[in-house]
């Protein structure tokens, strides 16, 4: 297990180093997120819908689509001159490759969230108060689920001609339960309800994470066999 985690860390570090050098996906995702916030802001009628009612939907729609940019890039770097063959021919397990990719994607999505959530709070003048910590917990739990599913489908889609179209088509249906739970929990918190009322959604998110991480880790080796 220690070997798998060490190899996963090596792969994640390599992916993050590549992203740090190129910044292509990260900048795209951040710009996309901020533009999304602005567009929703100007399309919003504050007399019809309050900010705490609108913000959860805005937040999770933006995360879902900006995350796809990074997820597509995840195995895209491996397609360049068949780098994936070098990984697969090495002695590290397929599970370690998946976990490494997922970890890099999680850090990527977390970094996008770290910029977007404060921007959302400022734009929509949200009463964050004492709900910052639970909101961060929701963001992390939802990101784990999204990344697990997205990483698996990124691996499946990367070698197809319509990878950029196929990835969202495959991943979005599986994102629905995660986004639903995250959106509902966020709405409870932002509308000033007690944290305990969001705990059921948090537990559901945790359950989704456990199932998706385990299932996707086990399924990944089958996507690269032939």
């Amino acid at each position: 297990m220690a070997d798998i985690l060490f190899a996963a860390w090596l792969i994640a570090r390599k992916d993050l180093a590549i992203e740090f050098r190129t910044r292509s996906a990260f900048l795209s995702a951040v710009v996309f997120s901020l533009l999304g916030l602005v567009i929703f802001y100007y399309a919003w009628d504050p007399t019809a819908v309050s900010a705490p009612d609108l913000a959860p939907g805005v937040l999770w729609v933006i995360f879902t689509f900006s995350g796809l940019l990074g997820l597509h890039r995840s195995f895209g770097v491996e397609a360049e001159d068949h780098a994936i063959d070098g990984l697969l021919a090495s002695p590290v397990s397929r599970e370690a490759i998946f976990l490494g990719k997922a970890l890099a994607n999680l850090i990527f999505v977390g970094a996008v969230q770290a910029i977007t959530i404060p921007a959302l709070v400022v734009f929509y003048n949200l009463p964050l108060g004492g709900v910052a910590a639970p909101l961060i917990a929701i963001a992390i739990l939802a990101a784990i689920g999204l990344v697990a599913v997205g990483t698996l489908f990124s691996a499946m889609a990367v070698n197809t001609r319509l990878a950029e179209l196929l990835l969202p088509m495959l991943a979005l249906p599986f994102f629905v339960p995660i986004v639903t739970a995250a959106g509902q929990a966020t709405a409870k918190l932002l509308s000033g309800r007690p944290v305990i009322e969001a705990s059921a959604w948090l537990k559901l998110l945790l359950a989704f994470d456990l199932v998706f991480v385990a299932a996707c880790t086990l399924a990944y080796p089958f996507t690269v066999e032939d």
Binding site: R21, H82, A89, S90, P91
Partner: protein, 246 residues
């Protein structure tokens, strides 16, 4: 002509392949290949495009599962997981490098994947052997195609594999790079590494080979073990195979 001639029992077999087949749907890319290769031996594999050479190498590298038959690398039945893959070094006409990383970072990353913890000296040595130490810190994307291929070879050699699978390794190399590669492969052979080299250049392949084969439609249409490689007759066999493949 038989597709399954035996090499005649090398002392320490590194590769033992028996009736190996690999199909993609109905198409059999490798259709029953048998051979063995011992430590310090080199098989030069020729054949037209689509003959199944790359597929055979990918099976031996652990990238594809055999459909039927068997293959053993260093005594480990394939697919043998990480242990079997740790004994193999794969060179391809694809560099398998990350363009945003430097040569040193690429080779170092590979060394760490193969469990070499204190990899600095090994990485430097590997890059030096391919005359790439001076450009070790340059991003791979800034290097010429030939230089990238040299780095790719350094990457494949950094863990001192017992079996080297080289799929058109001379691709993109200039004269100096080709000489460095030939010298490296000869050195590896002397040190007991088994090599399978796929190339369209008969002279290069046969200069290294102790065994030679011509592959066509997934089978060996000619296979000569160490004491029977007749260099002079290979061009004609190769031309026939290319012509037959259309």
């Amino acid at each position: 002509m038989s597709s399954t001639l035996s090499a005649g029992g090398p002392a320490r077999p590194i590769v033992v392949v028996a009736e190996l087949a690999r199909a993609f749907g109905a198409r059999r890319a490798v259709a029953g290949v048998t051979f063995s290769l011992g430590a310090g031996e080199c098989l030069a594999l020729f054949g037209p495009n689509g003959a199944g050479k790359t597929t055979l190498l990918r099976v031996l590298a652990g990238l594809l599962r055999p459909t039927s038959g068997s293959a053993r690398v260093c005594g480990i039945e394939l697919p043998g997981g990480g242990l079997a893959r740790s004994r193999v070094g794969l060179i391809s006409h694809h560099t398998m490098l990350y363009e945003a990383l430097s040569s040193r970072e690429n080779v170092s990353f590979s060394a760490r994947l193969y469990g070499i913890r204190d990899s600095r000296a090994r990485v430097e040595d590997s890059l030096r052997r391919m005359s790439m130490l001076e450009r070790a810190d340059a991003p791979v994307r800034s290097l010429s195609r030939g230089m990238q291929q040299r780095v790719s070879i350094a990457r494949a050699m950094v863990h001192s594999p017992q079996l080297v699978l080289a799929d058109e390794p001379y691709s993109g190399l200039d004269e100096s790079g080709a000489r460095a590669l030939t010298s490296l492969l000869q050195e590896l052979r002397s040190a007991g590494t088994a090599i399978i080299i796929v190339t369209h250049n008969l002279a290069e392949g046969l200069s290294l080979a102790t065994h030679a084969a011509v592959m066509q439609r997934g089978k060996f249409v000619r296979y000569d073990a160490a004491d029977r490689v007749n260099v002079a007759s290979y061009p004609a066999t190769y031309r026939d195979a290319v012509a037959a493949s259309g």
